[in-house]
Subunit: 806 residues, 2 copies
């Protein structure tokens, strides 16, 4: 133990290297960095992650040399902040928190207000001039400490609290008087002694070592162990412990607490922006009981112009503004800062890159480029591809009054208002009369397409983010809310869970970006694409490697006609007896249609269907070459191939059809015949399939369904829970499952190229417009991605990110 194990930070200096997150944990390293930049961070110290392992090796106790080091560090903190542990005048209180090298939110234990005891109470009551607040803090500290550190069943003290409220005839904790709370503290401490057979610790050092041991112990609680297993984190990493002095923004009118951004997070305007409360705790700003005040003119709400920090505490504001500039220069990004003012002294509690709207992201990136803070590469990376989608669709006016009536899934972004209709046919008819309509359905099916085109937006009671309605709506760039389970549709009316009924013709508004349904017409803001957006996209295009992002490639069509009329029509076109076709269609009732007679299987059992389609494609290509003098190389894409032999059979007859058409037209035309890779078997045997296929187009939607054994349409019953429980970090139908499906894609690419070196590779389907998937495709070395036209800017930006991050 000759090594240093406890690292002090404070007074603009820190004993450790802020880069060493493995040793100090993410949170601790961060505090060190802020301190070193020169910010006034409440002083404290870090006990390293190595000491966590040491604690276990030492039989679940802190070693004596470590306790010695901790005491030395406490002394440094006391000196730095001018308060003392256990002091009756200026008592030092600290927080004790866990901090692993990666964030494990809520998994481990925390103790606040440590250092409170009968002695320090006195000093605090004097400082706050608020007995009630101090006793309330003390009884909370006893509850937290006895539970977390001493391991006492928390229900026991909870019962005493309930009892005293009954006795006093009150319902809420806040209704208890200062005398009640004082009595409660005594009752609590007596009960602890009775149950735990030991006094509640008065000595702050004893409190401290107990709390540190508890944090180390919590590294191995069930929750944390499961979380680590789920995320592949190792047990031996251990947690660091951060002990930091507490500062208070609620010790009088020379105190305050606030949050601020270095630039406007909603517009991107280059002006500091934030709010604060005088004589308040951090949680008061969030709680919304008191209205926060603006920090400066730029932050004033014109409808409620309150005094600014700049006007109340000009010196402090000036200091804060200087810190803003310092932080922006240091982090080269807009910062989100938490601060507390304790008796006219400014403390910075936290800084991090600020969240911002899409619009702000674009403007800030361009401004910082112009200010030479960042280059064009960083500027491109500063705009998240996911955000771009919001720039392309109308959004609801945040300030407008609105009555939210139900909540579904944000299936396709944008906002839309219209009269309710319940059938696709009505949607078409009403729209043809010039009415704006919202199509409301249990779920949609291919028969509803025309109605979906005619409607302003689509609302469904069933179906997930990747249901038919959601997928088609996104493909059309049309607003959609799906899976709105509060909707009970009967005939041409729907009822909400609360009993309220809406009829055909009633007006509603959908917000497809949040999944909210509103009554009546809610004002909207049209999408505004500024010149800055164009600048970002131009920079992005400079760096893209994935060639010519394509519009969705349709594979050979999968269909069998169902209606009598359709059957007759198709039979005529195909020169096949109607009876034969009918019998075939009837025989096709399937239990699991996803795994049934579709894709190339139709091309095997019923070759005329494919021959007809191939002829149509080639006839069209010949026409364009002959009459429009276009230079075309048609690509025939065969879906759902599982075995090389299927492709051989279909390619053989397709080539015959193609050559016949080409010969008939006497044109000179090249063409390619390839396959979709959308079954695991195709990926596994890609080397064999590449002997026949001239290109691969990954159908990642079907590939996901079969690899995971999950039907997209049925996943609604469990997949949301899977994502919620972190089994999947993200819906694998939204973003490619890289560990499973992605691994199979890698395999297929490797094998495909082994057989056919220059085989053309791409993906076809919704994933092609999803940023993480686009980046993954880039990493795999695909030649192109395909996506719906409405997602092309998203895909372009993601493709640039892929290069710039790579």
């Amino acid at each position: 133990m000759s090594k240093k194990n406890v690292y002090f930070f404070g007074n603009k200096t820190a004993e450790g290297d802020p880069k060493d997150k493995n040793l100090f944990g993410g949170k601790g390293a961060n505090l060190m960095e802020m301190t070193k930049i020169g910010l006034n961070v409440p002083p404290g110290f870090i006990i390293t992650t190595e000491m966590c392992n040491d604690y276990y090796k030492n039989g679940g106790k802190l070693s004596d040399p470590l306790i010695k080091e901790i005491k030395d560090a406490v002394a440094k903190v006391e000196k730095s902040i001018g308060k003392k542990f256990g002091d009756s005048e200026k008592p030092l209180l600290v927080s004790v928190r866990s901090g692993a090298r990666v964030s494990m939110p809520g998994m481990m234990d925390t103790v606040l207000n440590l250092g409170l005891n009968e002695t320090t109470l006195v000093g605090l009551i004097k400082a706050y001039n608020n007995e009630r607040f101090v006793y309330d803090s003390y009884r909370r500290f006893i509850q937290m400490y006895s539970d977390v550190v001493m391991g006492m069943d928390s229900d026991i003290l909870e019962h005493i609290l309930t009892d005293i409220k009954k006795r006093k005839g009150v319902k809420l904790d806040t209704e208890l008087s200062d005398t009640d709370l004082k009595e409660l503290c005594i009752l609590f401490k007596n009960e602890v002694k009775k149950v735990m057979k030991q006094d509640f610790p008065e000595n702050p050092y004893e409190q401290l070592t107990g709390a540190i041991e508890a944090v180390f112990r919590s590294w191995n609680n069930d929750r944390a162990k499961t979380y680590r297993k789920m995320n592949g984190y190792l047990d031996e990493w251990g947690t660091a412990v951060t002990v930091q002095s507490m500062v208070f923004g609620n010790m009088g009118d020379d105190c305050a607490t606030g949050v601020a951004f270095t630039r406007n997070p909603s517009t991107g305007e280059h002006a500091h922006y934030g709010e604060f409360l005088v004589n308040a705790q951090g949680e008061d700003v969030v709680a919304g009981i008191r209205t926060p005040q603006p920090i400066n003119k730029a932050s004033i709400d014109p409808s409620n112009p309150l005094p600014t920090l700049e006007s109340i505490m000009p010196a402090i504001y000036k200091e804060l503004a200087g810190i803003f500039d310092l932080l922006e220069k240091h982090y080269k990004d807009m910062q989100d800062i938490e601060f507390t003012i304790e008796k006219n002294k400014l403390y910075i509690l936290q800084t991090r890159n600020g969240k911002r709207t899409a619009n702000a992201a674009v403007n800030i990136a361009c401004d910082m480029y112009d200010e030479k803070l960042i280059d064009d590469k960083i500027a491109v990376l500063r705009v998240e591809p996911e955000q771009v989608e919001h720039l392309l669709h109308p959004t609801l006016d945040l300030k407008a009054a609105k009555i939210s009536i139900a909540k579904g899934l944000p299936a396709s972004p944008g906002a839309a208002t219209g009269q309710i209709v319940f059938t696709a046919k009505d949607a078409e008819e009403w729209a043809s009369q010039g009415k704006k309509v919202i199509l409301v359905r249990h779920e949609t099916s291919p028969e509803d397409i025309k109605g979906m085109v005619a409607a302003q937006g689509i609302l469904t009671a069933l179906g997930g983010m990747t249901s038919h309605a959601a997928v088609v709506a996104r493909g059309m760039g049309k607003c959609c809310v799906s899976g709105c389970s509060a909707l009970h549709i009967t005939g041409k009316t729907f009822k909400l869970d609360n009993g309220k009924t809406y009829n055909e013709g009633d007006v509603i508004t959908l917000d497809g970006s949040t999944g909210t349904v509103y009554e009546g017409d809610v004002p909207k803001i049209k999408p505004q694409l500024s010149g800055n957006f164009g600048r970002i996209m131009t920079w992005a295009d400079k760096y893209i490697r994935l060639k010519t992002i394509r519009l969705l490639d349709p594979p050979l069509h999968e269909f069998l006609p169902h209606l009598d009329k359709e059957i007759q029509e198709v039979a005529k076109n195909m020169d096949v007896p109607v009876d034969v076709l009918k019998a075939k269609a009837k025989a096709l009732h399937e239990l699991n249609p996803m795994l049934g007679l579709r894709g190339c299987r139709l091309g095997i059992t019923f070759p005329e269907i494919y021959k007809m389609q191939v002829r149509a494609i080639i006839e069209a290509a010949c026409y364009l070459i002959k009459n429009e003098k276009m230079d075309i190389v048609p690509e025939i894409m065969i879906p759902l191939i599982g075995k090389r032999e299927e492709l051989i059979l279909i390619k053989d007859y397709s080539v015959k059809e193609i050559e016949r058409v080409i010969k008939k037209h006497g044109v000179n035309m090249k063409y390619l015949i390839g396959t979709m890779i959308e079954l695991p078997r195709a990926a596994i045997t890609a080397d064999k399939i590449a002997e026949v296929a001239e290109f691969f187009s990954f159908g990642t939607n079907d590939l996901t369904q079969t690899t995971l054994g999950v039907s997209r349409d049925d996943a609604g019953t469990f997949l949301p829970e899977y994502v919620e429980k972190n089994i999947y970090q993200v819906d694998p139908f939204v973003s490619i499952d890289q560990e499973g499906v992605g691994e199979l894609m890698k395999w297929a690419i490797e094998k495909g190229r082994a057989t056919r070196k220059n085989i053309k590779l791409g993906i076809c389907g919704e994933h092609g417009g999803e940023p993480r998937s686009v980046i993954f495709c880039h990493e795999l070395g695909l030649d192109y991605v395909s996506c719906s036209p409405y997602r092309v800017p998203v895909a372009r930006l993601a493709a640039a990110h892929a290069v710039l991050k790579g």
Copy 2:
């Protein structure tokens, strides 16, 4: 061309090495081998496969040196057999056949009776004393040759044949007189000259080179090229050409033709067995117009005792019997021999290992072991695991009269007779009254199980070899015919395609080994397991490496109750409100249930189900350990895992349940928690899953469904066609698809072992009782296979084959 390219065989000698199949083709090599053993094979010669490539290099013509070699070889054949090409007295006729290194049946061309012309006709007519037969042969030769060699449209001569039949007022070819056929030959040759602008070749050498070129050409016809592509055969292998003198068993009463086995193929009795016809061609024996005679006493049919070859031609029979012994000693297996006697001279045309019944296979193997012809390893290999199944079930008496009324799929072997019932309930009721019933259904579902148990056999109109009915029946060892599409069921009656109707209570008989349905009660032969069967199984067990073949392991049960009664019962057991359970069940309507909420997904969304099952298993185990003093290590098998995280969550709560039960009973018990690998994603990420799973059990049924993207229940609409078209050589639900699913298994095993070196591996499901799959599992190094109890002997034998073949 200094190398030898044409190899003569005849006179008990052959110029080439019979082992060189790549050079001589399979057929040619075989003829050489028989000749070298000392059999009197009709002489001939082989043109090597290398000459096929040479033919193409030479611009599609035989080179002059090659023609010279061919002529020399013809001379050797002439000398050997004492006939001459183009001779008017003793004309030599030959067959010209293709022969690649592997069999490509029906893909390439053959020419028979080559050498026929105006001159040789004369000699043949004299020899046969049958003008009609010779002219019929000649007109057939002209048709075949003009089509295959000269490339003339075969319809043209077919029209002339139709015309002459019309003109003569007859319907069949066989009704034409010898004069008609003579006229036809003239008309044919004139037409060939008119259309092809060249004479039909008279010169036998010209005929021969033309035919050889045609065989080489046929190597590259479309059919053959597609076949090669489908089977992965290389174009450059080429075909050899076999030219062999034709011998005739129909030149008088000193001629005959026959087929024989060296032992009885139906009982295995060690006695020669066969039949022949005097003055006949080989095809006459098969055609069934004349009744063949037995070759010896052992072959006599007691109900129709005809004179034997032994009595008619004693010297020839003696020679033949000697050849039988020679061949058995050489090939060390029972032989199936084709022979022809031309003018008292015996020719052997072909020998191959004889097909035999299961019973014969067992007896022959044991006899040959006792005769020291083979050792016990070979004896085991001589009984095909597939055959063993037939020994375990009753079979229909082949000799009994029977009326076949419909044909379905041979879904589960055995034979059964009973009265028709149409519902599972009726099956139970009738059976409880002591009646034997056959359950007839459109298709079966889990609700029918009790009725299936009660019935003698099951007959379904829908569903394939792997439908519910088929799988369950095989599991029960019960006879089943599935997919009998001729059945039209309405209420309690079914109608056949031919209109005939059968009602409830009518008696039918099923043959589950052939898929045939018979009217009434057909006599059956009970399975007879001889002592020899026991000897074979004992030998097999000596060599098995796959440990203790297991009975089917059930994974944690997948169910949600459907009926009100069930729901109430389950809700009570689980201590969950009925409403909650009902709502859950209702929400589970699925489009693709195979890919929906099942397996471990239920264990995630509804943990109580699994907890209850785990408790039940462990309670049972504790009971057996405490009260029965049994030594048990229960294995908990989690189905449908796709991601490690699922297993972590379920294992975590299962371990808690288990430990609680163990503690309650105070027993000392080990247990294992593992997973089924039945999704591609599980196989792909097996390294990660093995961090948590203590064993893997491959669920190859589901793994096949998801890897191939084929639902077993729906595959009936296309999979039979896939097998027929050779896309799959065998139904992948019957035998593991080694190229696709098998590759994934290999990957999973490799990855699983990388993480957990000694992970226990097995398969669970129907494939575990299928011989090829068992062998594959052995090759993969699995620890065990599981199968239904009725297939255990099959699996044992297959496991021994795996070792002995490996």
